[in-house]
């Protein structure tokens, strides 16, 4: 059971652009096998156009007399989409991910979607051992004021240099491993280009993940669901720890 949060249970206008639940497999399951197994059973819930992301790798060969380069492009992820494209299932080698795009449907819906996809996956592929579980939340927050005073909104600050002018660009990355569960939190906060309104904006990209748990299979919902809940609590409490009340006011 999650501890009582010391922050609002939810916001009417959360800044979440995308929320992801991701399962890493402990045995080789190719993207194609996942796609072949899930396309039909998930067709009713995810009838939208399927999208792909490719991995582009550039190889440069540097020799005394010449420099040559070649690029390879290979399919990395296939996304099955819902009718309006806001719910997605990502299929990659050894990875299954469930995505919710804005407007954020809430944790209950996100995890229910994950359970539905997991059920279909186990029915199609049989018991697959789990190697990792991760949650990722990506937020975009437009800040009033131009330039915005970051200290009013973020508790994370790199002080100094104010006399040189307003901050034009920044990015910060943190990584933390918490005992005893060895949960890994990775946080990236960065400036992001302004939107159509011209307001300065930041992105907060927060991942809570673990690969340290009692061996269990993807179908053992009773085993992984408490871990996912724990990671969700970790993600929420970490997010709340880096923002100010003034920032919270932007989500209301």
């Amino acid at each position: 059971m999650e501890a009582s949060p010391q922050y609002p249970a939810n916001y009417p206008r959360p800044p979440i652009v995308e929320a992801i639940v991701q399962f890493g497999f402990g045995q080789r399951v190719t993207r194609k096998r996942l796609e072949d197994g899930l396309r039909t059973p998930l067709r009713r819930s995810y009838p939208g156009p399927h999208k792909s992301q490719h991995h582009v790798e550039v190889n440069a060969r540097v020799e005394p007399e010449s420099v040559s380069a070649s690029a390879t492009r290979r399919l990395k992820v296939t996304f099955l989409g819902s009718a309006n494209g806001l719910r997605l299932v990502g299929l990659a080698d050894n990875v299954l991910s469930i995505h919710a795009l804005a407007p954020y449907p809430g944790w209950d819906n996100l995890i229910a979607n994950a359970c539905d996809v997991v059920k279909a996956t186990v029915a199609a592929l049989g018991p697959v051992p789990l190697a990792s579980i991760a949650l990722r939340y990506i937020d975009r927050i437009a800040l009033p004021g131009n330039p915005a005073e970051l200290a009013r909104y973020l508790r994370l600050q790199l002080g100094g240099g104010e006399e040189l002018g307003a901050i034009a660009d920044f990015s910060m990355q943190f990584r933390r491993v918490t005992a005893p569960n060895r949960d890994v939190t990775t946080l990236v906060v960065a400036a992001t280009p302004p939107g159509a309104d011209g307001m300065p904006a930041i992105a907060i990209d927060l991942v809570a993940a673990t690969s340290q748990f009692q061996p269990c299979g993807l179908g053992d919902t009773d085993s992984w669901l408490p871990i996912a809940s724990r990671l969700h609590h970790l993600q929420r409490s970490t997010f709340e720890s880096i923002i100010t009340d003034e920032m919270r006011g932007l989500f209301e």
Partner: protein, 158 residues
């Protein structure tokens, strides 16, 4: 001879999960490049929190509930669901039910959604899940009144 390999793409760290919204950013960059738009590319992720116009009303609804504007919230629910249910295909309405966060509604708004959609539940694949979440919420927040509030709307197998 030295051979080096570089991963092309966003300068943001690869955190091991592929988000869809970053792909949008890459497409925006590609479109800007193709159109010859000057300026830096991929300085950071280009992300949008704007809900699709068709679902903007959901955000409005949550704000009405949060600010205790109950009449406005109910008006939005009845107007929008009525509009969605008039469509011959209930797919849009069903997607709204799949995206509706019952935890950002109050009991009155939750009951309003249940009551307006109940007659069409056979056409709405996500109705049952929404109803289960609504039932849990109402039993949790108003355990003494839950049976009375849900009378006629639930049980789910009726």
């Amino acid at each position: 001879m030295r051979t080096a390999s570089y991963k092309a793409g966003m300068p943001f760290p690869d955190l091991g999960i592929v988000p869809r919204s970053y792909a949008r950013a890459e497409r925006l960059d590609a479109a800007a490049n193709a159109a010859g738009v000057p300026g830096p590319r991929s300085r950071g992720p280009v992300l949008s929190t704007d809900a699709p116009p068709a679902l903007q009303w959901l955000s409005d609804l949550y704000v009405h509930v949060f600010r205790r504007r109950e009449a406005e919230a109910i008006d939005v629910i009845y107007a929008k669901f009525d509009e969605l249910l008039r469509q011959s295909d209930c797919a849009d309405c069903d997607e709204v039910l799949a995206n509706l966060d019952v935890n950002r509604l109050n009991i009155t708004a939750t009951l309003a959604v249940l009551s307006i959609t109940r007659l069409d539940r056979a056409r709405l694949a996500n109705w049952r899940r929404f109803a289960e979440m609504a039932q849990r919420k109402i039993c949790r927040e108003a355990p003494d009144r839950a049976a009375a509030l849900l009378a006629g709307l639930l049980p789910l197998d009726s």
